[in-house]
Amino acid sequence: MTTRFILRPEHIAPFRNVSLRARQIVEGMIAGFHKSPYHGFSAEFLEYRAYQPGESAGAIDWRLYAKTDRSYVRLFEDETNLHAQVMVDKSASMGFAAEGRESKFDYACTLAAAFAWILIHQRDAVAVAAFDETVTSYLPPRSTNVQLQNILTLLNGIEASSATRCGKAINMLAHGIKRAGLTIVLSDLLDEPESIMRGLRHLRFKRQDVLVLWLLDPQECSFSARNAYRLQDMENGNRVMLDGAVAAEHLSRGMAEHRQVLERGCRELRIDFAMVMTNEPYADTLVKILRKRRQKR
């Protein structure tokens, strides 16, 4: 199987020093990263990590320091105090791609991989779920580098297909969440707003810090008034003939209403909501998102 996307170095280079933090208090005990309500260590040693200035000196493994004259921190299983879920919409509509551009799905997968890299890089556990009508693929949360590879393999192996029921899928995923964490939803949100909000509300109930990224292709927002369009729905195959002017008007109005409902709902639920155009460079998108989150902390 060919790899449709590759998380290239240029994708992640800008984020080598960026961290994705959860705003709320989560379980875990990595000092300076995520405060944990619990004290003590997990029994299972995981690995060593270089000491970062600003961390508590008590976490330094002094024995190793004596041996190596370098400061390291021991990581245990439970010290990955952020369990993040990255939900990628793999419905057929995500397969929309303007000429010369990659599809929304590919864009979402790259973003998902980038988020996964950031999280894993900061030793957070990342789970990845792909959904259309339901959750079709799920990778449980891990924080190892192997997990990143597994994520890439998973994302590379799925195709955009089937109809969108993101609200139901988010609900399903929310059911399986046991602990607080971060959930990133990468979707074009082409479902009933109420259904989507139900899912998001469920996530918030499960103490998830939710980041919703509404992916759109610029082609989806613009129609030329001089042309007529013969459109085929990528999910159900329905066809319509529309005038460009009428199509633009209806689309603009529909999307505005949809956005309004989602934004209002997310605002009420204190969910980060961002509209992402697939013609924007990944780096710009991520920087914008992360910067916005940092400002809100």
Binding site: D188, A228, R230, V246, H258
Partner: protein, 643 residues
Amino acid sequence: MSGAPFFEPAFLWALFACLIVVALHLLRRTKTVTMAFSSLRFFQERAVTAHHSRRFRQLLLLLVRLLTVIVVVLLFARPRCGDTLFEKLVNPRQELSCWIDATPSMGYRKQGVALGAKATKLLDTLMALRPASAQNSWYDAASGTYLPRKAGTVLPFQVRYQAPAWYGLIPGGRQPMLLVVSDFQESTTAALERAWGSRTSTEKLTVICVPVTPAAPRDLSVGAVRFRSDRKSMVTTTLHAYGKQPMHTAIWATVDHVRCGSSKVTIAADDSLEIHIPLARVVNDGWGTVMVADEDPLQFNNRQVFVATRSRGVSVLVIGDAKRNYPIVAALAAADSVRWQSLVTRAAALVTYDEIASADLVIVNGYQQEPPVLRALQRAPAGKKQAIIIAAPEMSERESQVTVSGTAYSVKLAEQLLTAVLPDTLSLLWRGFPSFRATEVAIYRYLQGLTGETLLRLSNRVSLVTQKTDTLGRVWITVATPIGVTASNNWCETGFYLPALDRLARHAVAMLHEEQGEWIAGKGRANPWYGSNHPTLILDENSREVSRLQQQPTFVLENPGVYRIVPPGAEAYWKAVIPDPAESRLIYRFPERKSTQNLSVSIVRPTELFAYLRHNHSGMLITVLTILLLFLLAAEVALRDKP
């Protein structure tokens, strides 16, 4: 002008603009982009419907634009429903020739406006309503041709006493159209019909007759005036009344601009009345007028001029048996002793040539056989022009044939009561005669087969009195029965005898060139001084020269009035010129409508003409097209896509 259904067919080439419209439509039509779309959830049903309706609107817009081009082209090309009269009137390529009847009867005033002035204004308005590029021409009487005219440049109406050259009234050219505005008096209509009936051109002539005939005309007209003066001067005229009501008026006479006599008159509707007006003083020379006081609509015939000169007496020689001819002499003497001077009776065997030569009027009657003198009269050249009345000889019952003036005639016995009947009551001879049919006259024997112009006839339509003029200018009046005491009839015993004989005698004398009847304004006359070495001057009443006659075979005096004739080497005398009496006869007849290969005659009322031109000037079809164009423009605006 072709028979194409368009006035300007050249504009039809502009229909190729439809191709431009179609090309623009194809170039500007929306391109259809086919693409897979993420979701159609935002596109409601009405967006789909809007597309279908837009496509339909675009097709409809194309159709509207094509129709707009077609309608605009048709409006410029000006379609016509057919080759109707009104279509021709609004055709800018159709030249219109206009003729207004300028005869005196068109001076008839209706509500103070003469018919001719009304006709002028009517035609002027008509020209203004025709297309601006259309050519119009009016008949110019002076040149006898049609001259171009534009609306607003026509001259005021003026009565002309001279009738137009009727043959010149017919315009030439291709598919000529003549518009005639007239009151269509009988004489005018007859002349018009003769003129356009005698055309030989194959081009179709369209004649539109627009009558301006007065609805209930009324008129009083003064007839020719006769002046007589012996111990008293008197003028006699005939007053004619046209109309439905009796008229009461006064009539007076003037001499040298001084009123000399008058008479109050009551005349019945449509009647004629002979009026004698004694003059207050004896008039020996000069001229005068007789006029009627009534302000009737037609004024030209309310006044007549007369020449007040003592008429020279006519010498009359009656040849035949004196006893049988006594009634002749007595009748003439009683009718007008002044006029019929020197009434001489001679037996045929005793008459001398000098007596014959010196008589103005020779009456031959009361003979058994044709006298030699009659044959001599026929053969011998006359020293002067004479009038000869020859009556039939006394016929016995046994005779079946007689010879008169060298011609044999059969003798007829009346099988039924035969009486004398006038051929008409309008000619100069019989105008104003008391009765049309002399019922008291009984003709028992008469000659059949008289030739010449019938002056009097029998009730069985056989000519009783005929007239001929020989090559020497002598007037021969032949009577088919004796006119004196005779067993062939009872004529001299009736009241018909005296006036009829007087009229016949006057008529015979009037045929001679010294009097030659009335001079009528506008009518050509033979020039009696033709060929003379010196010209004859004709002066008006103010002694201004009107005409100089010498080598002209004919001449015309255009206006009525009194003229001074100055012949070379002779005494000057006054001559009255009267308007054509026919113009006073308010008898109207419209031309006969017809449609043949080369002639179309229509009668169109003025109201009908203007109703069409004002309201249907562009034709119903043009109106419909204009409304359609407005509708199409509104449709274009409605169907166009909103920005």
